[in-house]
């Protein structure tokens, strides 16, 4: 088990990929057009997790070129991730004023 986890084979990676495709489709299948923009922005922030990859590259860099690419990738990925979540929150903040009365909430749920 440890071996699979620490050094997954390409078939294992493909399995994860295919299953994720289905989850990705399923999870947003019912979304109102009102939320298209925040959803897109939230998804945008989530792919900012490439920061993890950038940190791994930079952490393992042993020459100047790799370090330079790593630094660039880390900065850009951080901008994507942090900025993405902040801007999504700002968008969603705008929605909160509306859902005060329970009746309205149900209406929104529809």
């Amino acid at each position: 088990m440890t071996e699979i986890l620490s050094s997954p084979t390409w078939l294992w990676l493909l399995t994860i990929f295919i299953l994720s495709v289905f989850v990705g489709f399923e999870v947003i299948s019912k979304v109102s057009s009102m939320l298209h923009t925040p959803l897109m922005s939230g998804a945008n922030a989530i792919h900012g997790v490439i920061l993890v990859g950038a940190m791994i590259i930079l952490g393992a860099a042993d020459n100047a070129v790799q370090a330079l690419l790593g630094v660039l990738a880390t900065i850009l990925a951080t901008v994507n991730m942090v900025g993405g979540f902040v801007v999504t929150d700002r968008m969603l903040e705008m929605f909160k004023g509306r859902s005060k009365s329970p009746a309205v909430k149900e209406e929104v749920q529809r």
């Binding site: 620490s6 050094s7 997954p8 390409w10 990676l13 994860i16 990929f17 495709v21 990705g24 489709f25 947003i28 019912k30 979304v31 057009s33 009102m34 939320l35 298209h36 923009t37 925040p38 959803l39 939230g42 998804a43 922030a45 989530i46 792919h47 490439i50 920061l51 993890v52 990859g53 950038a54 940190m55 590259i57 930079l58 952490g59 860099a61 690419l69 630094v71 660039l72 880390t74 900065i75 850009l76 990925a77 951080t78 901008v79 994507n80 991730m81 942090v82 900025g83 993405g84 979540f85 902040v86 801007v87 929150d89 700002r90 004023g97 309205v104 909430k105 209406e107 929104v108 749920q109």
Partner: protein, 458 residues
């Protein structure tokens, strides 16, 4: 458990957070909470990564993260609500570039790792850089640094096909030989292709382009994850890639168009944009604020159609004030929200929610369209393309087939516009010259403030 297993477990929790985040974001009630969960998952993923074996260069890592945060947070905080679409495009672009750089930087490390890894490297490099330059052009169009109308480079179609062919050749070369110069060439071709992909798309379709490129970046991240054999990156990237593709489809469906038509439509429709863009010299009827105030005050039913102009003028509070005033005089007021009014779907909902407009007054297109025939006055505040009858009648129009708000069925239509300049799609609107139409030129907020004053004394 070994350290590697703890790291995997942390990544698993982060992946679940991302799934819950997307789930939460698809319902208004849980959207904000979904975003928090997503941010929590991202922070967990970063913390867990700090325990990766054999990590060095800590000063560089910490410095880069601090610098990235110092750029990202103020940018996201300072951006006005009207400019949020281009901000999302910019964040998406840098994410794509980061994914591509990760794949490039790790290329030589895996020179003997077989074709599967090499394939992931070339995929991430090409798609990540396409997403980067594509997003840059999107940003330029939305920020109106460059023209918002479709740009057709002479022979653009052949250039695109040429680039595509070069892309395929380079992919084969890189996988076959592991050549670094070929990978660099692939990166350059990807960068140019991204530009060529977005240039021919009209400004009004930018939201869909952002969504598509968002999906691209997700897939590039997943491919980089395959290069690094990192399951979290594969899950997160694929989630965004798949949900982004579905979202792109849903959004283009809301506009009654196919993705193919949006991305490549400019190649097939001929010279539709000729002559547009310049203010027309045909005559229109302009009204005075007092006339319109009386018209409004003595109506039974008024529908407000908000558009991008409302966002620019920040007139959402004033429009609400006018609506409240009219309601107090016994006029029935509602807002007709076109799914793509403004620059992004839901843009108007966000703005009007900010002004505390009651939810019951917001009507979606399908709900409100049959009501226009019974409407006395439609007030169009800074919208144009979404009420253009050409979408219904003129088969040669670039927006033909897009569902619109049928405001021309109402008794009177009042346009609050800054000028006769065409809308974002860059096409003339016949409705502006109609007999039922009255124009009120000027800044939407100014005009609305004057209208409020005039209705009070009417």
């Amino acid at each position: 458990m070994t350290r590697s297993e703890w790291i995997q477990l942390g990544y698993l929790v982060a992946a679940v957070c991302f799934i819950l985040a997307l789930k939460g974001l698809s319902s208004p009630k849980t959207a904000r909470y979904g975003n928090f969960i997503g941010a929590g998952g991202a922070i967990l993923a970063v913390v867990v990564t700090c325990f990766y074996p054999n990590m060095s260069n800590w000063p560089l890592i910490i410095g880069s993260v601090v610098l990235g945060t110092a750029i990202g947070v103020p940018a996201a905080r300072a951006v006005p609500m009207t400019a949020i679409p281009q901000m999302v495009a910019a964040f998406n672009g840098v994410g794509g570039a980061a994914a591509a750089l990760v794949a490039v930087a790790d290329f030589r490390t895996h020179s003997n790792a077989g074709w599967a890894v090499a394939l992931a490297v070339v995929f991430s490099t090409a798609v990540g850089f396409i997403s980067f330059t594509g997003s840059c052009i999107t940003f330029g169009k939305l920020q109106e640094i460059m023209t918002t109308r479709p740009v057709l480079v002479p022979g653009g179609r052949f250039i695109s096909f040429g680039l595509l062919a070069a892309l395929v050749v380079l992919v084969v070369v890189v996988i076959g030989t592991g050549s670094v110069p070929a990978l660099a060439a692939l990166a350059v071709v990807g960068l140019i292709f991204g530009v060529m992909l977005v240039l021919p798309v009209g400004g009004a379709d930018m939201a869909i382009v952002i969504s598509l490129l968002n999906s691209f970046t997700g897939l590039a991240v997943a491919a980089s994850g395959a290069v690094l054999r990192n399951t979290l990156l594969i899950v997160a990237g694929t989630l965004v890639g798949a949900s982004g593709a579905l979202l792109t489809h849903l959004m283009s469906q809301a506009m009654g168009r196919s993705i193919g038509n949006i991305m490549f439509g400019a190649f097939t429709s001929k010279a539709v944009t000729a002559g547009a863009g310049a203010a027309s010299d045909r005559s229109v009827r302009t009204g005075t604020v007092d006339d319109i105030a009386i018209l409004l005050a003595y109506s039974r039913k008024v529908v407000v159609v908000p558009g991008y102009g409302l966002a620019v003028a920040q007139a959402q509070h004033t429009v609400r004030e006018l609506a409240d005033l009219l309601e107090s005089k016994g006029v029935e007021v509602s807002y007709a929200i076109h799914p793509v009014a403004g620059r992004m779907p839901g843009h108007m909902n966000v703005l009007l929610a900010e002004a505390n407009v009651p939810y019951e007054q917001l009507k979606e297109m399908d709900e409100v369209n049959p009501e226009f025939a019974r409407t006395d006055v439609v007030v169009v505040v800074g919208a144009n393309d979404v009420v253009n009858p050409a979408a219904r009648e003129d088969a040669s129009s670039p927006i033909y087939g897009m569902p619109i708000l049928d405001v021309d069925a109402a008794q009177h239509v009042v346009f609050l516009k800054r000028s006769m300049r065409p809308g974002f799609a860059g096409i003339e609107n016949e409705l502006l010259f109609g007999d039922k139409t009255t124009m009120l030129f000027g800044d939407a907020k100014d005009t609305l403030t004057k209208l409020v004053g005039a209705v009070k004394s009417a």
